[in-house]
Amino acid sequence: MKNYHHEVETLIAELQDRMDENQFSTLAAFIQPAAIADNNILTKNFSGCGRRFKMIQADKTGKGYQRWPTEKLARCTLATLAIANRKPTDAAFLLDDLFRKGDLHEQEAVLTTLNFFPDRSEFMDIAFEALRSNVVPVFASICCDNDYPAARFSQLYFNQMVLKAIFLDIEVARIDGLKERLNPQLLQMISDYRDERTIANRSVPEGIGFIESLNSGVNL
């Protein structure tokens, strides 16, 4: 089980580092227990993180959380605290609402938050909905740098996700647990796709070669 308490502390420390006193007091009000516990206040603040914090620059040369947009750090903090504070069914209801009624950046933040909760199956419908998104950054938020799919997805969904990532030319190297979840069916789908591209005289996406190399044990 992941320690989301530790992640939240790190997120808040990074936010404090970036923010001036005024900005941090806004955030402090957002993460008050009463503001986290109330769905109406939380959903409003979750949206409001964008207009309030997006102007605060990330350190593009930093690493990990240092590179994240400020509003994303804040939203993941809010969502994580909200999940921790609720019964599983209530948490799933809230997260589903944040996802469905969120703009693109809000949706990204919801999906990234799932990375802290790979053991929680009640968020699966949100993750599946994200797989159907044609908005690349939203799809990428569940597909890349996220432990949730490898931990929770059935083979059908996992394979569809990988195949769509190849279609979208997304870095498949950033799919967590890909090597562990490789299966003959996925390799067959990829090989069929390679043939389809070759027959059509089109370039073969780099993701195909990468996955085949994972399978053959080369470049590991």
Binding site: S47, R51, A58, L104, P137, A140, D169, R174
Partner: protein, 295 residues
Amino acid sequence: MKMFDPHIHMTSRTTDDYQKMAEAGITVVCEPAFWMGQPRTHASSFEDYFLSLVGWERFRASQFGIHHFCTIALNPKEANNANLADDVLAMMPRYLEKESVIAVGEIGLDDQTDAEVYYLKKQVELAKEFELPVLVHTPHRDKKHGSMRCIDIILETGIDPSLVLIDHNNEETIEETLRSGCWAGHSIYPETKMDEERMARIVKRFGPEKIIINSAADWGVSDTLMVPKTVAKMRDIGVSEADIERVVWDNPIAFFAQSGRITKSALEKDVLRDQTQLFSGNSVLRGQTPQVDSI
């Protein structure tokens, strides 16, 4: 020259339009929430429409290097539908929080009914609460009188006139609009209302101060390139480059920047590159080609 079309309904347009707009130099658009051409039968249809304005349409625009913003409102026509007006108003605060919402609009008057007046005032109050500017639709019939009535009703609420953009002006309404302290928007249409020739002469005569132009392109006969076409006309009749730039770039930015949600420097960035960088500060995309085909 970079251009900002501050009133255009891209939901009704195709990717060909986006392509041509990008080629003509339009890098920023604002899409006001409006009437769909036929009345909606459920308040929740508004919510899905608002979601598409802050979601899918914004992504679609970004794929062509265009920054997309929107305004949220119950439009004056549907303010007359008592079955859903209050429900739409109740859902608006959540959407007014969203970062790409840069004004309340289109609000205003159409048939000039009591219901329209009531919801116009209510929505100006919402704008004040969220410290947002307002984008105002003025009636196409009884234009001169109706436009003045809109301005009077809005300013009576106590909102600062510099936060108010009165749209669909013409030679007959512009002087009163500017005298009120509001911004004067002009929708340029290929056949009806204002054309690019007349618009160019207005800028020549009145100067660029608080003048804004847009295509108001939608599902009707309209032209998404009306801003660049009017720029060409202004050049033809000798409007200075500095004045042209104020009308199609500086002015709309200055007006909507009052929302606190856009800045000139952010709008000067390449949105496509910026978007791929947005994912945790690392690009996940190998290529940079538009991904709006069906997957």
